[in-house]
């Protein structure tokens, strides 16, 4: 297997982990507390049992295509690795991980998230890989509806929670900027690089400039959905403008991931 293909498949597993379960877990305060409050033995048992449960799923699914399947143990190790990487990256991006904390706390914080994220990685190939039957792509006006639907689907359960306000309050402005840029990069990777379902159709006749334009359009829809939701629940209107912008960008991340997922899953 070429290096590029290997990187692409690992990346697809990681983004699949983020799409399927990662965002919901990363935006749940209780999972952060679990890392501190849960006894070490309990946490270890949770990880071991969870990873054991991944085994049958990985046996049936795997994140590789059938003709390129590694041994079962390699696949399990890889989805767990992907879960670790995504958990670490997402929590670091959102400022949940405090690198001034002891190493044990950092490891525990990531470990809590690993099992669900590894499940997401294992399921990514089943539902989202490019090996699936290609689906017709919605044309331009309809695609806006698809983006909106996906953004609402993933961001709506998160918008009313306190996590958005907490993450926005904790983040510095450079981190807010990093979240915005990461949202754009993740969106582009999901749509055009990691060979999720329908990628071939999305790539046809699209220059790099148009791909970037489509990515910006999708992210703008995610931002608009995030802002609309925060306004609808009264979170944005009552706050200073700068606070509303911070919260919108924080909520815009899951909204953009949801919009990308809708493009991959629906049309």
């Amino acid at each position: 297997m070429s290096l590029a293909l290997e990187v692409r498949e690992q990346g697809r597993g990681m983004m699949g982990a983020l799409l399927i379960l990662g965002v919901s877990f990363a935006y749940t305060t209780e999972t952060w507390w679990l890392a501190v409050e849960m006894p070490a033995t309990h946490l270890l048992a949770l990880a071991v049992v969870g990873i054991c449960l991944i085994v049958p799923i990985t046996r049936a699914v795997g994140f590789r295509e059938d003709d390129d399947r590694s041994s079962l143990y390699v696949e399990v190790a890889e989805v767990v690795f992907q879960g670790f990487v995504v958990a670490f990256a997402a929590l670091a991006l959102l400022g949940v991980l405090d690198f001034a904390d002891p190493l044990s706390v950092l490891v525990r914080t990531v470990l809590v998230q690993v099992v669900p994220l590894a499940f997401g990685a294992a399921l990514a190939n089943e539902f989202l890989s490019g090996g699936q039957e290609e689906i017709p792509e919605a044309s331009f006006p309809a695609s806006l509806g698809v983006f909106t639907l996906g953004a609402v689907f993933l961001a709506a359960p998160i918008a009313p929670t306190g996590e958005v306000a907490v993450l926005a309050a904790r983040a510095s402005w450079p981190r807010i900027g990093a979240i915005l840029l990461a949202s754009l990069v993740v969106t582009y990777l999901i749509l055009y690089e990691l060979e999720f379902r329908g990628q071939q159709a999305r790539l046809e006749q699209l220059s790099l400039r148009r791909r970037v334009g489509q990515t910006c359009m999708l992210y703008a829809v995610g931002l608009a959905v995030a802002a609309g939701m925060l306004l609808a629940i009264g979170e944005a209107g009552a706050q200073p403008f700068s606070t509303a912008v911070r919260r919108t960008i924080v909520l815009g991340f899951p909204a953009a991931v949801g919009a990308s997922a809708a493009r991959v899953v629906l049309a």
């Binding site: 070429s2 692409r8 919605a138 331009f140 904790r170 510095s172 450079p174 912008v245 911070r246």
Partner: protein, 174 residues
């Protein structure tokens, strides 16, 4: 079919699709339904895989929306960058008395004191304690998750005839 080591999965699917297309054409020629199958394929390609373009005005509208999206993102990034440079990382949060109002009950001569906490730091504050001195009496306010560059308000009740003064006692950065 098999795939060579040098072939990416995309290339593999291209070849798969080409082979399937050849098979469909071949079957159509033998069975007499190839024309219909071919038309369906063309419809799917024309309507579904054109990158989201409609012929009449759709492309222009899409271009307008893409440009607006890029401008929105650039403006948002610019705002974030401006905020990042305008706010300092080592500023001290300040507390001020924003308003002094009478109590709702007419026979209560105490005063409701609204205190505003401002955080001009570039980072948020996980907790802040504010003391409000009303003459000899002292009240305390606790705030949590104060955003960077943002603020919070709280209200205490002070005895009548006192002049309230608010002061930040402790704070914890995130």
């Amino acid at each position: 079919m098999t795939r060579t080591d040098d072939e990416t999965s995309t290339q593999g699917r291209h070849r798969d699709a080409a082979e399937r297309e050849d098979e469909e054409v071949g079957e159509g020629g033998e069975g007499g339904e190839g024309g219909e199958g071919r038309e369906n394929g063309e419809d799917g390609g024309g309507a579904g895989t054109n990158g989201g373009l409609n012929p009449d005005g759709g492309e222009l509208l899409e271009l307008v929306i893409v440009v607006a999206s890029v401008l929105l993102i650039v403006a948002t990034l610019g705002y974030v960058g401006w905020q990042a440079t305008a706010t300092t990382a080592d500023g001290v949060p300040t507390a001020t008395v924003e308003a002094i109002d009478p109590m709702p009950a007419s026979d209560d001569d105490r005063r409701q004191v609204t205190v505003r906490l401002d955080n001009r730091n570039g980072t948020g504050l996980s907790s802040v304690e504010v003391a409000v001195r009303c003459g000899d009496a002292e009240r305390s306010l606790a705030f949590e998750h104060v955003p960077a560059g943002g603020g919070r308000t709280g209200t205490v009740v002070c005895p009548a005839g006192t002049v309230p003064v608010a002061e930040v006692v402790t704070w914890t950065r995130v």
